[in-house]
């Protein structure tokens, strides 16, 4: 339960330093303008209302877009990794991820519905009150993700108990239903080029053109999940001996499950709502943190937050630096490196798998 505290502190400190460096690097370096660190700093201060903006208004705008992009990236990476940490702790399986309980599928469906509304499929009355999909898509994505998770949990619960196996199987079944509906929407809108392109693009994930609104959504989800850590970390450690054993030493197992599922759902839902489908972060970051510093959730969960932020921001920065204008959407990059990585994990951990 208690890995070497020194080692965890070294990891935490390295992550924080890396995060600050990557944040500045992503702000300074980009396809159009390259900022000197001093200018970037001035521009950031101006965003906070502490000083004059950069001389050219368009340049200040570019800087602000990059800052929001970096912040949203940090929030999304942190949220997905934290969500994965909760899910892996709850399922007692280091290869579990938030998409198991329907978060990703639900968000896709919600976002697709929002795209349809924006694309003119909604009654005129609704359309007249909507300015842009920018607000609607994250909102519907969040509702879709959270509602799908709630349905999974509700269906998996019987007689006041939620068995983890039931949760897993129900998640698979509900994911199939949601995927079917999503495919139906895609198929129905195939003729409408604009709409079907928007739906498709969403599934690739995006971190471009993010604003304070997106950052607000993702950091609210993250904050709610972080607030759950003190109520679940020690308890998730005790769950390793099984639910009955945890209950015997005084853990309120039902409350633990609800809190962990809520935390996982709210953080992952907010993340996919603002950034689209970005797989892999929620699986791999908590997994690697566990390999590096041990399995105590008191350390694992906070370090996953930092690790997730560093991982996504770093991966994004590197690929945009290397590929420039040819840079891929974040969801695509994560899928490309995620699949092979997952295979390596599986092969390495055959022992664990044989115990499933």
């Amino acid at each position: 339960m208690n890995p070497s505290p020194r080692r965890s502190r070294i990891f935490a400190a390295s992550f924080v330093v890396l995060l600050v460096v990557l944040f500045f690097a992503s702000t300074c370096i980009g396809p159009t303008v390259r900022f000197a660190p001093a200018d970037a700093w001035r521009g950031i201060l101006a965003m906070l209302g502490l000083g004059k903006p950069l001389d050219v208004a368009t340049v200040q705008t570019i800087l602000e877009l990059r800052v929001w992009r970096a912040l949203v990236t940090i929030g999304v990476g942190a949220s997905l990794a934290l969500s994965g940490g909760f899910i892996q702790g709850l399922f007692q399986n280091g290869l579990a991820s938030p998409s198991l309980i329907g978060v990703t599928g639900g968000a896709s469906l919600g976002a697709a519905v929002a795209v349809l509304i924006v694309g003119g499929y909604a009654p005129r009355l609704v359309l007249e009150h909507i300015d842009a999909g920018a607000y609607l898509i994250p909102l519907f994505g969040f509702i879709g993700a959270f509602a799908t998770t709630a349905i999974v949990v509700y269906l998996a619960s019987g007689g006041g108990r939620t068995s983890v196996t039931a949760l897993l199987l129900t998640g698979i079944a509900v994911n199939m239903c949601v995927a079917g509906l999503f495919a139906a929407l895609q198929s129905l809108t195939l003729a409408n080029w604009e709409v079907s392109r928007a739906i498709l693009a969403w599934t690739f994930g995006t971190l471009d053109d993010r604003t304070g609104y997106h950052a607000g959504v993702v950091f609210t989800g993250l904050a709610l999940a972080l607030a759950c850590i003190p109520f679940t970390a020690v308890e998730l450690d005790l769950l390793k001996g099984g639910e009955s054993d945890a209950a015997a030493v005084g853990v309120d197992v039902a409350r633990l499950k609800w809190t962990a599922i809520f935390a996982a759902a709210v953080s992952a839902s907010a993340a996919v709502a603002v950034a689209g489908q970005i797989a892999f972060v929620g699986l791999v970051v908590p997994h690697l943190v566990r390999l590096a510093i041990g399995a105590s959730h008191r350390v694992l969960l906070p370090l996953s937050v930092l690790g997730g932020a560093v991982f996504l921001l770093g991966a994004e920065f590197v690929q945009r630096w290397l590929l420039g204008d040819a840079a891929l959407q974040p969801g695509v990059v994560m899928s490309l490196i995620g699949g092979p990585f997952f295979l390596v994990l599986l092969v390495r951990e055959r022992r664990e798998i044989s115990a499933w």
């Binding site: 339960m1 450690d237 001996g241 054993d245 015997a248 005084g250 309120d252």
Partner: protein, 261 residues
């Protein structure tokens, strides 16, 4: 400290309608070490889990000092009742001292981590169970016997008034069987109460203050060692292949006997 646990007419069915308990009752007070014996499948472990509040009986009631055990908040319940499970479902990647520290969970505040006192309790619990030498090992590295002793140590660290122990001596050699029963008996002598499910009639004979016999989900006999470990009580439950004798202390000995009757 628990003064009195009362279970009345407990019934319990597992999913699929397997009736595990069909009227089981017991009363335990401070200073008592009750051994629960009975054939395989007689409902002993289910009974223990109902007493612990880990299973909710379909009828009947369990109270600790007058309060229903199911309604107690989990932490409060864990401060009063500690459970030593028969085994843990998986091999834990957890250090022994941290595992035993898990027994302190109910005593820790939400924001407070383990204090010097908690660590001292962990240490003395491990020492009592002759396990302090493995404190820094992983649970998954221990032998079956070592793991069993560590499970008892965690229950001791929980500092509950009542210990519910499920077959603690299954994989232990004779010396450690005695050690485990001695540490339970010491706790009982110190003012706690214990209920121990066991197949070892002779350890029950030496350490128990009372013996409870279960058969087909019912408690059929409950009484002093001398009154229960007799052919009249045990042969209808276990069958005729038993040999009855006496230790030099006068306590009964019961061993399986492949006679030619």
């Amino acid at each position: 400290m628990v003064n009195h646990l009362v279970a009345k007419d407990l019934c319990f069915e597992y999913h699929g309608g397997i009736r595990a308990l069909a009227g089981a009752s017991v009363e335990i007070a401070r200073g008592e070490l009750v051994a629960v014996i009975g054939p395989n499948g007689s409902g002993k472990s289910t009974f223990l889990r109902c007493l612990a509040g880990l299973l909710v009986p379909s009828s009947g009631s369990v109270t600790v000092d007058g309060e229903g055990v199911v309604a107690l908040p989990p932490r409060e319940r864990a401060c009063r009742i500690a459970v030593v499970p028969q085994f843990l479902p998986r091999l834990l990647d957890v250090r022994v001292s941290d595992f035993v520290l898990g027994g302190r969970y109910a005593h820790l505040g939400r924001w407070r981590s383990a204090t010097q006192h908690d660590r001292a309790v962990v240490r003395s619990s491990l020492e009592r169970c002759d396990s302090f030498d493995v404190a820094d090992r992983l649970m998954s590295e221990l032998s079956g016997g070592q793991r069993q002793r560590v499970l008892v140590a965690r229950a001791i660290a929980q500092e509950a008034g009542l210990l519910l122990v499920d077959e603690p001596t299954n994989s232990l050699d004779p010396e450690h069987q005695l050690a485990v029963f001695r540490s339970i008996a010491d706790l009982v002598a110190g003012g706690r109460a214990a209920l121990v499910v066991t197949h070892d009639l002779n350890l029950a004979s030496q350490f128990a203050t009372r013996v409870l016999v279960m058969q087909n989900g019912r408690t059929v006999t409950d009484g002093a060692v001398d009154r229960v470990l007799t052919p009249e009580v045990l042969e209808p439950v276990y069958g005729p292949h038993l040999f009855f004798g006496r230790f030099s202390s006068g306590r009964p000995i019961v061993v399986p006997w492949a006679d030619e009757r």
